[in-house]
Symmetry: C2
Subunit: 386 residues, 2 copies
């Protein structure tokens, strides 16, 4: 059992949107294919991986450091002890050889992208959906093909008014998402409140609406917004301050009685642990959003899950950033609280398999193998060309 080729290609996932921090006009994404010498029913087993939006493609890191380390290693050392499948943990160690500790950004994307493809391989060789593989390996063998999902959108873009925002949100509701998320902090508080109220007209209860400041606010602004948002009883108030300003987050949590959510820009177990240790997050109501593919992949994510458990947190408090099928699989196989979905963005990489059913913000997947990427026709076409 051997890896015979690893290929990377960059795809644009640009769009006209912007959040309170960046615009997405130049956003792109590394996609990798790991090709093996294994065949099932005459078909070569290939693992595919890519990374979440918000961070840029990592071609050079892949081509200069992480892919060569895998290629130059002893291939038997990449297999599990039984020799009947690849070992994501052993491959992870090979990739991280000669990397210093700390400084978790960019390379965490590169490793996460390859790690995703490796798990796709592992599940394909087992001929199971990844979530089932994960439940068997790490969980109590309990998995589900139905998870909570919410529609993330509500970005700012030039010329977008309240009516257009409402129309966008209505389209999500029509697609089965009763819970939605919108951006705040890119306009004045007054404008943002008008936007929020307009969306509440579409989704009804505050518990159906999350708002996301994308790390924009300092503490006084955070407190001002928190006070103004409180009466709406929103599902959560997301990434209020700088992702590493745990003190700001802790002070916010002291004053704001409703749920907060953060973690998408913490790219290692160690960074996630500092949020848990110092961020004042409340395990009975707040939400953790660590992104697997931007954070050294699933091998590291399992460590992060172990860490939160040690601190008394349930995995159901995690609803990851990412919006793709890796996040879907870990939610379904490791008992997370659900997944973020961008129905109109970052396609065809986001979302779930064709013929999935979305009702009341729960998605039910059809049967698939691996990550299920090939169960999405538009994505399959792209992947097969790599």
């Amino acid at each position: 059992m051997k890896i015979i080729e690893i290929v990377e290609q960059v795809f644009s996932i640009n769009s006209a949107i912007k959040n309170a921090y960046i615009d997405f006009s130049k956003m792109d994404c590394s996609v990798v294919a790991i090709k093996t010498d294994q065949y099932i029913n005459g078909e070569q087993i290939i693992g595919y991986g890519f990374h979440s939006n918000g961070r840029y493609a990592v071609s050079e890191l892949l081509k200069k450091r992480f892919i060569p380390r895998i290629k130059e290693s002893d291939f038997k050392g990449l297999l599990n002890d039984e020799g009947n499948n690849f070992s994501p943990e052993k491959i992870w160690k090979v990739m991280m050889h000669n990397e210093k500790p700390g400084g978790h950004g960019e390379r965490s994307t590169a490793v996460g992208t390859l790690d995703m493809a490796i798990w796709d391989l592992v599940a394909k060789i087992e001929q199971k959906p990844l979530y089932e593989v994960l439940a068997n390996k790490y969980g109590n063998k309990q998995f589900t093909n139905k998870i909570f999902v919410y529609a993330a959108g509500g970005y700012y873009y030039p010329g977008k008014d309240v009516a257009m925002l409402q129309e966008e949100m209505k389209s999500y509701v029509d697609q089965g998402f009763s819970t939605v998320k919108m951006k705040i902090g890119g306009a004045s508080l007054k404008e943002d409140l008008t936007r929020i109220e307009s969306v509440l007209k579409i989704v009804g209860d505050g518990n159906n609406l999350c708002v996301d400041a994308n790390g924009r606010f300092d503490l006084p602004t955070a407190k001002t917004y928190a006070k103004a948002l409180e009466p709406y009883q929103l599902k959560w108030f997301e990434e209020v301050g700088d992702p590493l300003d745990f003190d700001l987050n802790a002070k916010l949590c002291e004053e704001y009685p409703n749920p907060v959510a953060t973690g998408e820009n913490l790219f290692s177990m160690q960074d996630a642990r500092n949020l848990i240790r110092y961020g004042g997050m409340r395990k009975n109501k707040d939400w953790l959003q660590f992104d697997c593919s931007l954070s050294y992949g699933l091998v590291e994510y399992v460590k992060t899950l172990g860490m939160i458990k040690d601190y008394g947190w349930s995995p159901t408090r995690i609803i990851p950033h990412g919006g793709h099928q890796l996040s879907c699989n870990i939610a379904a196989g490791l008992g997370l609280g659900g997944n973020e979905i961008y129905p109109n963005l970052f396609q065809p990489f986001g979302g779930f398999p064709d013929n999935s059913l979305v009702e009341n913000s729960y998605v039910t997947f059809p049967r698939f193998v691996g990550l299920g990427l090939e169960s999405k026709a538009k994505l399959k076409v792209i992947l097969e060309k790599i």
Copy 2:
């Protein structure tokens, strides 16, 4: 006043050494030249920058994101308000456009490398050494051309025995470095103690010796080493645990009465702030080692200095990682406690100008302009070819 070209080239700084975490066999470095339309005495003003060892070259990040953002910006927007020099702060903002908060690694190296070249330009246009420019801009106009330096070495490498370690350390003493640093944690505690005692025979007092674990130890190992090291009264015990495990560091500081040092793998003001907030570091005895060129450069470093001041720390507690003339200049111009130097490694990028005088671990620089890189003949040859 215009930037007319920005070029990058990668240089190998590989060597056979290893610390407790990585070997340096594939280590390389991005070097940039920012060429302007300005001439002084018929010579074109070019700013040069590179980054510290320990992190890899960042060519693609430079060529795809950070250099194009500078090139595509309005050139007048890159100048200071008087229009008579470049503005590092404005250029920094241009570079960080469309970068999300958090995830401080790799890109922090790319921005730091360009930022270094920009400060070289600024000081060359002023026809002053950078340390004088910095003292005038941020300090009380007090600067010095004499700073504390210590010799960092004592790495592990194949076949290196205690006699060779002693010989290495003796060579540093002969070069004027009375204070030296050696690696620990890459061998057993017993072997490391033998190595430490052998070096103490060369440098005499424990206050002349620092030891560096490169983030390798868990808490029990850290405590075992701390107990064993205590009687030697060493100058400092460096990077004992994972750089982001502030809790480990705080627990170590509770038990170990002698100085500790850390911070070289924290690549933003926010990460540095978390060390100050949560790391248990003692402002009367411990040392901070934030690396300017790996941490978004001097524009960010000034924020970090402001932050430590807000927490009651003196800049004299900072002795930065890096071993090059950027660190020398910030130490000399911003009142830091000194600088690390690798006399035998990462050449010709490390060290200080030719004809500098090293005595009792203090270096005195000759007069230079900019960062003083061209005052080092071997480095000048390389830079002029870029």
